[in-house]
């Protein structure tokens, strides 16, 4: 019962925040709603008993990436954008195609969920604490992607610094 309340609360918060992100005129308000959407997603992770991923989402996504977004929004003067047209000229076509895509996937899931074993998730007591499990899998089987991800982050750091410098 508590499970369902938590899930529906975070799901509703995530979807409403996502819609508000896409429709706000003020970019800072969009950023704030994206933060709430990311925190709602973190709540969904917690409800799925993925505690390590919950805290990684909060620290990296909400506490790192969004701080970066908010910094950039504040360094760039956005007053001009408040009076411009918000949606581009073919917005109706984009909306239509996105809704068609959504409808296709909805039908796919709805039809398929009786065929595939999309049943009850594994009971929570069978899972070890998520941190140890993730650590074990990450450092045993996925060590190479881990190292590649660290090189990717190094490249991104250098790239971002070079792009944002005034004189190269």
């Amino acid at each position: 019962m508590l499970d369902q309340i938590v899930f529906y609360f975070f799901a509703a918060l995530a979807v409403i925040s996502a819609v508000l992100v896409v429709t706000r005129r003020n970019v800072v308000q969009s950023a704030i709603f994206l933060i709430t959407a990311l925190l709602a997603t973190a709540g969904i992770f917690l409800q799925l008993h993925a505690e390590f991923l919950f805290i990684v989402q909060v620290i990296l996504y909400a506490g790192g990436i969004m701080v970066l977004f908010v910094f950039v929004i504040m360094l760039i003067n956005m007053d001009v954008s408040l009076h411009q047209v918000q949606f581009n000229r073919q917005w109706w076509l984009g909306l239509l195609l996105a809704l068609v895509l959504g409808a296709q996937l909805t039908v796919a899931i709805a039809v398929g969920r009786s065929g595939l074993p999309l049943g009850e998730p594994a009971p929570a007591t069978m899972l070890e604490p998520s941190t140890e499990l993730v650590g074990r899998v990450l450092f045993n089987e996925y060590m190479l992607p881990f190292e590649i991800a660290s090189i990717l982050l190094l490249v991104a750091m250098i790239g971002a610094v070079v792009m944002a410098k005034k004189k190269v």
Binding site: H49, A122, L133, V137, L153
Partner: protein, 100 residues
Amino acid sequence: MIPTSHYLFLSLGLFTVGVIGVVTRRNVIIILMSIELMLNAVNINLVAFSRLVGSAEGHVFAIFIITDAAAEAAVGLGIIIAFFRNRETLLGDEMDLLKW
């Protein structure tokens, strides 16, 4: 217990909203934010399936996606800053230097 299909529908909803944001809005920062929404939707999907199967590989993949999103947001915002410094515009429609 929440059946896995509920998580799939939630992930689908977030993904669709993200796609609408990318193809409809003019401001490139909002486009970047919609891309982050899409990546989050995929993460929910991965973690839901990982919970169904009972292994941690979905979690590991989700961590890699978050890492990747961080790198992409950093570089993307750097590009936006560089472009804004030159052209003073933040609208995707007006970034048409490569158009013939």
